[in-house]
């Protein structure tokens, strides 16, 4: 049946409007399935359809599945309630047309209005961009005292460091090692013991249930004892990757590696950061590498921006970390530790991250020792709280990663009791 505008009884008008709402939400990436549509229509029969609040929350209950989707829903609903066009389609009316799903180009996201990603979408991934330091204004409000900022910036702009930076050759090895990263993870994905047991003749745990059940067949005599053993399940792998200006030459390979790792490990999560944090797990979870990379680049608003590692980690700790993303996980931070934020914040946040994680591994792809890096104040601040430091430019070191994290080997490492850092505020 079609909901044409001529045949509109009030009920049909509401129905067709509701279907239009669902269609618009789908266009904007919400999971407004046919089920959800059905739920909403049933809900409309129960509530006062003239009451905006009730209409809003009924639609919310049916179509929204995560707090992240609230803003999109709010916007669309507002248009819906005010009777404005929901989707901007050239030369077409809202309802009674052929199914919106036919307009293929609207799917896949690229033709849709982007939320703040457009300007960056065009930025080249490997291209020659201006130095990151120039993109970022100096003083950044709430974090750090200005003295420390100046100290860091002074180091950054010193002639010598610049020359050193330019002198650094593009070594094939660095990238090779990063490429290996995904292979290593694929080869030996980390596992942990699950609380779920399964029957196993060689298991250690005696199972009363299995034993008694088996003895039913033998008139209540327990001839065969039942045992169960532990099962393994993939341990969560959490990547936190630096894609700031100083990491630019690595980021493309890094992302490709991330994509492979997210595809390979059943429970991998990928985040990237420069000044802010962006979650990329869903973005990278596709088949096509190029498309995934393009999408990822568009999704990260501060690609090749300046670095505030502490700030980004703090963002992780207070949002995803609180929800338990790092609990029991192997956390791999890939960064050169060139940080423009307050090292104290970095220190606090890395410590927090370590306390949550099973094992905190820091991979630094920059082929220099930590002491040589004037800007790696951040790196030095973080070092006491890192379980394993892996020089990422060294293929042998990366190959050693599998031993660190693979299989059940990822024991909780011995951690020295590090004194609490001085209070922040």
């Amino acid at each position: 049946m079609r909901f044409g505008e001529q045949t509109a009884t009030p009920e049909q008008a509401i129905m067709s409007a509701a279907v239009g709402l669902a269609r618009a939400l789908r266009e904007f990436g919400l999971q407004a399935s046919v089920d959800a549509e059905h739920t909403y229509l049933r809900a409309l029969a129960e509530i006062d359809t003239r009451n905006e609040t009730q209409m809003f929350w009924a639609g919310h209950a049916a179509f929204v599945h995560s707090p992240d989707e609230l803003e999109v829903y709010k916007t669309i609903f507002e248009r819906f309630w005010e009777g404005r066009p929901l989707i901007h389609v050239e030369g077409g009316s809202e309802h009674g047309e052929s199914d919106a799903r036919m307009q293929g180009s609207h799917h896949g996201g690229e033709a849709l209005p982007q939320y703040g990603g457009e300007a960056n979408a065009a930025a080249p991934l490997d291209g020659e961009r201006q130095r990151a330091a120039e993109d970022i204004p100096t003083a950044e409000g709430e974090q750090g005292t200005s003295n420390q900022e100046q100290g860091v910036l002074a180091a950054w702009s010193s002639e010598e460091q610049l020359r050193q930076r330019e002198d650094m050759e593009y070594k094939q090895d660095e990238l090779l090692a990063l490429r290996m990263l995904a292979e290593e993870i694929k080869r030996q994905s980390p596992a942990r013991r699950s609380r779920r047991a399964k029957p196993s003749p060689s298991g250690r745990r005696f199972e009363v249930r299995e034993t008694v059940r088996a003895s039913m067949a033998t008139d209540g005599e327990a001839f065969r004892l039942g045992f169960s053993g532990p099962t393994l399940r993939p341990r969560r792998l959490l990547f936190l990757c630096d894609v700031s200006g100083s990491m630019e030459r690595y980021s493309r390979v890094l992302l490709a590696s991330l994509k492979a790792a997210v595809g390979a490990a059943r429970r991998a999560e990928a985040f990237v950061f420069a000044t802010d944090l962006t979650r990329l797990t869903k973005t990278l979870d596709g088949r096509d590498l190029e498309m995934a990379l393009d999408k990822a680049r568009a999704a990260v608003p501060d690609w090749s921006g300046g670095t505030r590692i502490g700030h980004a980690l703090s963002e992780f700790n207070t949002t995803y970390g609180r929800r338990g993303f790092a609990r029991g996980a192997i956390v791999l931070v890939v960064s050169d530790g060139w940080d423009r934020g307050d090292p104290k914040i970095l220190e606090t946040e890395v410590r927090r991250l370590q306390l949550q994680s099973r094992r905190l591994v820091w991979i630094n792809p920059r082929p220099m020792s930590v002491d040589q890096q004037p800007l790696a104040i951040g790196m030095r601040a973080a070092l006491p709280y890192i379980d394993d430091f892996v020089p990422g430019h060294d293929p042998r070191a990366v190959a050693g990663l599998a031993q660190l994290i693979g299989g059940l080997a990822a024991d909780r490492p011995m951690r020295k009791a590090v004194p609490d850092p001085p209070p922040l505020y």
Binding site: Q31, T39, R42, E46, T53, F56, A61, R196, N317, G324
Partner: protein
């Protein structure tokens, strides 16, 4: 079970149970009752996700059946099990009763919820269970029936009201979300939080409740590592009440702050910072609130 004709009637019934809902939540609960669909609740810890199920159960006079999820939970913990020791005895004693019959069936929460008409079933912290258990729940949630191989299909006469909570430690599967109504419970606004405190702790003075709620409300804007939930607000009100205070003073606040904030860095920050200024600010706001002024 009493049916509710309108959203307001439902909201009033929950208010009588000292659970205050805003119109959004009331609408969704009303729909969950009417459409008999499971309700998936998410939100920060301490916003009253679990409490809602309790309040709903006592408002409707229905039994509350609770299933706490954890990793490795399986059919034998959630649905049913056989009483093997009794079966064994029966077998040894040469009894004639069928071994796999209702007589030897142990009902676990899900089966219990099907057996009792109109029960309120709370599936708490589903994100802690593993994928396998989530998949197992799908049949239960869409048809309100389960299959026990030895007995057959058991279907609810009156489907239970199902409330699922999740703390989002992992994303639940889309297939499960599709079967549910979804609601995100936010921290209440100041007036509502005061109302909640008054309803939950009627023996506590208005002035103290106002002051504490205003203080907590300010704290939530401070971008703490772990913001206090309503549960913690109530604890703090009770702490002051137990110590015989009618308003917040810096000394007591400092020594009882652990009731409210559970993170060392947050405690340091508030204690070492401008606690006095915060208290003064919230006192003013509480006064405005009492005079019915603009409290935002």
């Amino acid at each position: 079970m009493p049916g509710y004709d309108s959203i307001h009637q439902l909201a009033d019934a929950l208010t009588n149970e000292r659970y205050l809902v805003d119109e959004g939540l009331a609408t969704v609960v009303f729909l969950a009752l009417k459409l008999r669909k499971p309700l998936l609740l998410e939100g920060e810890p301490g916003v009253g996700k679990t409490e809602l199920a309790k309040a709903l159960a006592s408002a409707t006079g229905a039994p509350l059946i609770r299933l706490q999820c954890y990793e490795g939970i399986d059919v034998h913990h959630a649905l049913y099990d056989w009483d093997y020791p009794r079966q064994l005895l029966q077998l040894r004693a040469g009894g004639s009763a069928a071994l796999y019959s209702e007589e030897f069936l142990l009902r676990r929460p899900l089966l219990e919820a099907l057996a009792q008409p109109n029960a309120v079933l709370l599936i708490d912290e589903l994100d802690r269970a593993d994928d396998e258990f989530e998949a197992f729940l799908l049949e239960f949630l869409s048809d309100f029936q389960v299959t026990i191989p030895e007995i057959g299909v058991i279907k609810a006469q009156e489907p239970p009201i199902v409330i699922i909570t999740s703390n989002r430690t992992r994303d639940l599967h889309d297939a499960l979300k599709r079967r549910c109504l979804y609601h995100w419970i936010d921290h209440p606004d100041l007036q509502r939080e005061v109302a909640i405190a008054r309803a939950r702790l009627p023996h506590v003075g208005q002035q103290l409740a106002d002051h504490v709620c205003a203080f907590v409300h300010d704290l939530r804007w401070l971008d703490l590592y772990r913001s206090p939930g309503v549960g913690e607000t109530l604890d703090w009100v009770q702490a002051f009440h137990a110590l015989g205070h009618y308003e917040i003073d810096a000394k007591t606040a400092s020594s009882t702050l652990g009731t409210l904030l559970k993170e060392r860095d947050d405690l340091e920050r508030i204690r070492g910072g401008n606690l006095d200024a915060l208290i003064a600010q919230s006192a003013t706001r509480a006064q405005e609130l009492r005079q019915g002024g603009n409290y935002r």
